[in-house]
């Protein structure tokens, strides 16, 4: 388990949580597409990595899943946030904002500091 994957997984989890928070229940494929759209198609997601991340969130109790039918009448597994998941999403978003803000100060041009 290298450091890179951890960071990647961490951010992916945040993206999933935020997407579910704004969009409501979603199936895996829909989530993947939605994340790509939100990133303005700048993020090329390897869809396969989404499922272990979802499973981890489910094991931790932040999301729950249920089988349902999609808009085109296909069977699909839908994920939705639990109460804990909602809290987690807000908290994680705040932490992430703080981190990026701090990082932004480091990346800013020296004269602006």
């Amino acid at each position: 388990m290298g450091g890179k994957t951890d960071v990647w997984q961490g951010t992916l989890a945040l993206m999933v949580l935020r997407t579910l928070e704004t969009m409501g229940p979603q199936h895996g494929y829909g989530l993947a597409r939605r994340i790509e759209q939100t990133s303005g198609d700048r993020l090329q997601l390897n869809y396969g990595t989404l499922y272990p991340a979802l499973l981890k969130l489910e094991q931790e109790g932040y999301v729950r899943s249920n089988w349902g039918t999609s808009v085109n009448n296909r069977k699909a597994k839908f994920y939705e946030l639990t109460r804990a998941g909602e809290k987690r999403a807000r908290k994680a978003a705040k932490e992430w904002e703080k981190t990026t803000e701090i990082l932004a100060r480091f990346l800013a041009r020296p004269e602006e500091v």
Partner: protein, 874 residues
Amino acid sequence: MRGLRALWMRLRSGRYAQADFEAELQSHLDLHTEEGVRAGLTPEEARRAALIRLGGAEQTRQAYRERASLPWLEILQHDTRYALRGFRRNPLFTVTAVITLALGIGATTAVFTVVDRILFRAPPYADPDRLVSVGLTAPIIPQEFVLGAWYYQWRDHPSPFASLTSEAGEYPCDLTERNPAHLNCVSVEASFLSTLGVPPILGRNFLAEEDRPNGPKAALISYGLWTSHYGRDPGVVNRVIDIDGAQVRIVGVLASDFEMPALEHADVLVPQAVDESTAGADRVMFGFARLKPGITAAQAAEQLKPQLDYALSKVPARFRSEVHLRVRSVRDRQMQDARQSAWVLLGAVLAVLLIACANVGSLLLTRSSTREREQAVRSALGASRGRLVSQALVESLLLSILGTLTGGVIAEGLLRLFLAIAPSGMPFLQGARLDLRIAGFTILVGLACGVAFGLIPAFNRPRSIAFAARTPPTSVGAVARKFMVAAQIAVTMVLLAGAALLVRSFSNLQTQPLGIQTRGVVTARVSLNRYRFTTPQSRMQFFVQAEAALRKLPGVSAVGLSDSVPPGDDRRDHIYSIMEVAGRPPMSGATGGMVAWRWATPDYFKILGIPIVRGRGFAEEQRASSEHFMILSNSLASRLFAGQDPIGKHVKPVPGGPWFTVLGVAANVKNSGLGEEDAPEYYQLWRAVAEDWQQPHSAVLLVKTAVAPRALAPWIRTQIGAVDATVPVDVQTLNERVGKLADRPRFETALLSFFAFTGLVMAVIGLYGVMAYRAAQRTQEIGVRMALGARRPDILRLVLLEGAHLIVIGTSIGLVAALALSRVLKSLLFNIGPRDPLSYAVVTVTLATVALLATLLPARRAASVEPSEALRAE
């Protein structure tokens, strides 16, 4: 919390999750394909694109599976199952390895539990490492002692001690109240408990005024007495009780783990109440002190040197040259010679553990090398180095666990056996329990053993050459294995040599002439209660009546009376140089060592079969005489009357005592225990006259019988009970008494022999394993040799020589080590040197023979191989 929840979910995720995910994956691909088709792709293209974006279906499944459950746990399960299957397939290997480990671990744990209490137990005092026993040593009292004259002067001078205290030893005393009891009292100085740092659990310590002559009488009672006699009544403090007829106030109760530093049995502590100004050289006490911080026992002894000169001026002149100062820890004083056997036992058992470890190691190495090809295949099929290592680790850990569990059972069994056969002289053995710390330690050793030897082969990279038919004959593993076999033989040699010496010494002890006839003799020791038999007359009457009563028993041919029985060392003694012969000036010079003596009636010599070599024995009618008669042992007679006829001479054994007429000279008997040097001895006729019964409260009735001695025991009890029903009688045959004296050497010999035998068996197994493996490995080479014209005897010699090589190396190293180490056995040996050539010769030959036999079997098998088959063998 979240992490735990996730872990729990991963633990219980089962097959259902896999099927569920399969459906989810399918649905994902369908959704993606559908969108692709809507965007204008053909279904095939769309599906392909979906798979590509997914990153491969199999990889996704793999990633999901790893997250869904705990992969390492699965691997562990898998490895465990695999290892167990391997064990089942090769039961001989498994059983050997497990038993070997179990014996090593079990024996070590049991022995360590026993010796821990002897070697490493902290005496139950505050800061026990600073407590020392202080005193002089002299021939009359083997343990260090202090004399009153010296002690009080010295206590009040500056000394290396923070505090100094004394006790005057135990003496029998009686609780003379409505529920009387026979007790042991110890008189101590008032500062005794405070110096040891053990306050009473109830009440208070002695006050200074209670330790003065004619002060208020006070007593501290033991926890045992408090429990058995007073029902743990807290109100016992301040109660007045009768001890030996005097009114004594109980001031406190001692803790349940209280023990005297010299291990006397103390029911009651009373103050010494000594008049310090008049205490002289005749007052013998035992000194204990607490060292000042930063001072060692040796430094303390050094500082006391000047005071010793002063002390010696108070000692009778004849002692001076034989007196030495000794300061040693209380623990050392308590354990004395038990330490020696404890260290020997510990050494022996560690040697067994070493052999066991080496054996398991060489077993694992052998096994791993036979599986080299399997490892190579596994590696070629994609097993990572880590997986191979973990597999090997799991296997050796499993072996260790199995061995440890079995070892625990063996340890418990051995401990019970030790306790059953242990001599009473081994302190603190009673109540020894398996110590979890010790068990934990040995388990760690076992695990370390398994892990270390499991890892060596695991890191041996499986080479491609392993696929070839021939494996190189010398690898690191092979050298290590040979080394371990040689080491096992060497350690076994040491163990066997030690055991052989002890066995020889023990048989010397058992077969030595005792000078007495032990067959058909029953002894009955009777101790009279002091509060019932208060006058010499009453004591004499009791024993004379008992003697007459025993004579009436059927099958009894003679009854004798004495106060002690050889060959034990519980007889009375005094120093030689105080003896006086009529017509000669008193002796001068050193003490001359100790002279033993005992009371005896005429039949004593007949019953024990001690011949009178000169003069005559005591006569029955002399028991009524007002004269005193004695019989000398041969050694005392030749020392007192060199070249003269002692018969009819007059001797005064102790100053102030009566003169005795020498009637005869008896042959020497063993009289100081089985292993000790005999003391010269004399016998005083025990007359039926009150004068001879001033002191003795106990005596031994000796009965010579033609019927089975054991059958007589209840009769003896009944007859003595008829004289007085209240006295306790201890009946033993003389053979049993003598047997008990050999308990200690028997214990040591039995244990060391057991360890030596265990070591021998293990070493032989190890040697056999290695030789069998080497022979199997060389099958093809042997085939080639035979094809080229080698005959079977040549092959036999070839294989045997390789084994003989190891045996010679191991035995030689072992012989040197044994010769060097056997010095520590010296004090345990009787009539045999630690370098007894016969023992070493027998052991060397035995070990070499057994070891050669262990190589002969594989060698014969190798030599019986058909060349055509051997050449085909892979």
